[in-house]
């Protein structure tokens, strides 16, 4: 898919996500808008996955460690045929498969259950190590939030990945500079990520996380260093695409009212066409 098509798909996904948040009266819209371009590029351009064989041992693995943005993953998986598109309307409803955090037991296509932050990367290290042990070519991708990187478990996994020379592992940091209660810089500032990851022995790409051609290039095998795990620092905006949400910490899990919803939809329509 070229960048123009990816942009179109991502816009459709943003609108479906926003509608579901509005209808369910819950969700993590800020972090969903920031991660959707990354998810779109992975699922529509990079990952080798097949909805008809979701457990194919040779599939690429994608772990959404920032599980609070499950809805974005659900919409992307629906667009890729892993679940019926109209099932998105059951998001958070009684007995739905689509709860607030992704669940692999309920939904094929989800690799591991996330929700508590700081779990995805260690699991992804195990996946990548398994592929190495069996000399398989499938790859592992994991998306974390930048606030999530404050969890110590991530840094234990970062050390292990370098030690194990996991060049089949790609960590994507959704670097939107905001966490739940405040900016990272006001809480526990980890930025810049590049020197820290490089010091731990990783190959690092620093990109615009809303530019589809940059995302596709960075996650592809065209970049990287043999013997090193790869980290893509995706510079993003929380609430991207919606002016009043963008870079605004208030929108971590706030739900738009009717008029905000209309305005947000209109803005997404305008940029998506």
């Amino acid at each position: 898919m070229d960048s123009q098509e990816l942009r179109f798909v991502a816009s459709r996904i943003r609108r479906r996500d926003l509608q579901a948040v509005f209808e369910a009266g819950a969700g993590h819209v800020g972090g969903e808008m920031s991660v959707i371009d990354i998810l779109t590029c992975l699922y529509f351009n990079e990952l080798s996955v097949d909805p008809a064989a979701p457990l194919d041992p040779e599939r690429d693995r994608l772990v959404l460690s920032k599980g609070h943005t499950a809805l974005a993953l659900y919409v992307v998986l629906a667009e890729r045929g892993f679940l019926p598109r109209d099932e998105i309307s059951t998001f958070l409803k009684h007995r739905s498969r689509l709860n607030g955090h992704p669940n692999r037991v309920y939904l094929p296509g989800v690799e591991t259950n996330t929700g508590p932050l700081g779990h995805g990367l260690p699991v992804a290290v195990g996946m990548a190590k398994a592929a190495k042990l069996d000399d398989r070519s499938w790859r592992t991708f994991v998306i974390v939030g930048d606030g999530e990187m404050q969890e110590g478990s991530n840094w234990e996994a970062i050390m292990a990945a370098a030690q194990f020379r996991l060049d089949n592992l790609t960590l994507i940091i959704d670097h939107n500079r905001l966490q739940q209660g405040a900016r990272l810089s006001e809480t526990n500032d980890l930025a810049p990520f590049r020197p820290k990851l490089e010091a731990f022995g990783w190959h690092v790409e620093d990109i615009d996380g809303h530019d589809h051609s940059q995302i596709c290039h960075a996650v592809s095998t065209a970049t990287g260093t043999p013997g090193k795990p790869k980290c893509v620092v995706a510079n993003t905006n929380k609430g991207h695409g919606i002016s009043f949400m963008s870079d605004n910490v208030a929108w971590h899990h706030k739900v738009p009212d009717e008029s905000q919803y209309r305005q947000a939809m209109a803005e997404l329509m305008e940029t998506g066409e």
Binding site: L92, H94, R97, N103, G115, P116, G147, E151, G181, N188
Partner: protein, 319 residues
């Protein structure tokens, strides 16, 4: 005791928690709050505005948070370590064991939105194992208040208690069950309603539902005693023994897995010293499906009607 009207005004116990914490902090400069990013979810924005130096936000790092709390206690502070209950207890369990329980430090662990308060967010965000986990540790009293008045009283108790403790708070609305000026006593059950046919024991969000069940049972001619058992460890063994001998049957009701929680703690006393038939209501050892907190309680047989039905069935097993 106030009557348990279903239409009564409902309160979020977090407000009572921070109200009391701020009051105590104004009088005691050593009181500090420690949290993990979620200042708003722990309702600590007011505390932050009043005592900006005394809100210690370690970021999204719960193991560090509990360790830092233990160090603050060592330095003479009285830390209230506040976080969503699943991450506080699950993620930092070993810190709670080694740095708080084993080291006997003066750390007040405050689990916010415990039980299934996070409803639709799913099982990762439910804290229905915390009674079992923390109850297994020496030196950390486990307390689950039932309304805003008991919450405030438990916070006041915790601030002067010399040692660690775990306060398990919810955000699911509950009406007032106690009266203003209520005093919390560790290890003491509260008799909320007397009765002779069966005893219903509950805590937290379930006390309210259990009281309604007792009223329904009265209409069916069954006289139920209701004990509020906020203190899960130490537990009021005397009240349990009296309930067993005087009513001959005990039903427990908790927003927790039935493995290792309040029902188990009551059953330990019952089998040791006063065997009577028991029914333990709670989450039956599964990860909950998608649903709101109240919906899930209903689904797991803890609507007032279902509690009453279970009590009637239990009566049939009395010897």
């Amino acid at each position: 005791m106030n009557a348990p009207f279903e239409t009564a005004r409902l309160h979020d116990c977090r407000d009572a928690f921070v109200g009391m914490l701020e009051e105590l902090a104004a009088a005691n400069r050593d009181i500090v709050a420690v949290c993990n990013d979620s200042v708003g979810s722990s309702k600590l924005t007011g505390f932050r505005d009043r005592f900006p130096d005394r809100l210690i936000n370690v970021g999204i790092a719960e193991q560090n948070m509990v360790g830092v709390g233990a160090g603050l206690a060592n330095g003479g502070k009285v830390p209230f370590v506040c976080a969503a209950a699943p991450f506080l207890t699950g993620r930092a369990l070993e810190q709670i064991k080694a740095d708080v329980a084993y080291s006997q430090t003066n750390v007040k662990l405050v689990g916010i939105s415990s039980g299934m308060a996070y409803g639709e967010l799913g099982a990762t965000h439910h804290s229905i194992e915390d009674f079992a986990w923390i109850r297994a540790l020496p030196n950390v009293p486990v307390i689950a208040p039932a309304d805003r008045l008991e919450t405030a009283a438990a916070v006041a108790w915790a601030a002067v208690h010399d040692g660690g403790c775990f306060l398990r708070l919810s955000r699911v609305g509950v009406p007032d069950l106690f009266t203003e000026g209520h005093v919390f006593e560790l290890g003491k059950a509260n008799l909320l309603r007397d009765g002779g046919d069966v005893t219903l024991i509950a805590n937290g969000v379930l006390t309210h539902r259990t009281l309604i069940a007792a009223a329904r049972l009265a209409a069916r001619g069954v006289s139920a005693r209701v004990l509020n058992m906020a203190s899960v460890r130490p537990i009021d063994a005397d009240a349990i023994r009296a309930a067993a001998s005087e009513t001959g049957a005990i039903l427990t009701c908790e927003e927790h897995t039935i493995f290792g929680g309040l029902g188990s703690a009551v059953a330990e006393v019952v089998v040791d010293s006063c065997p009577v038939p028991m029914t333990r209501l709670g989450v039956p050892g599964v990860f909950a499906h998608t649903g709101s907190a109240n919906q899930l309680l209903d689904d797991f047989g803890m609507s007032p009607e279902a509690i009453a039905d279970s009590a009637v069935a239990l009566l049939g097993r009395k010897v």
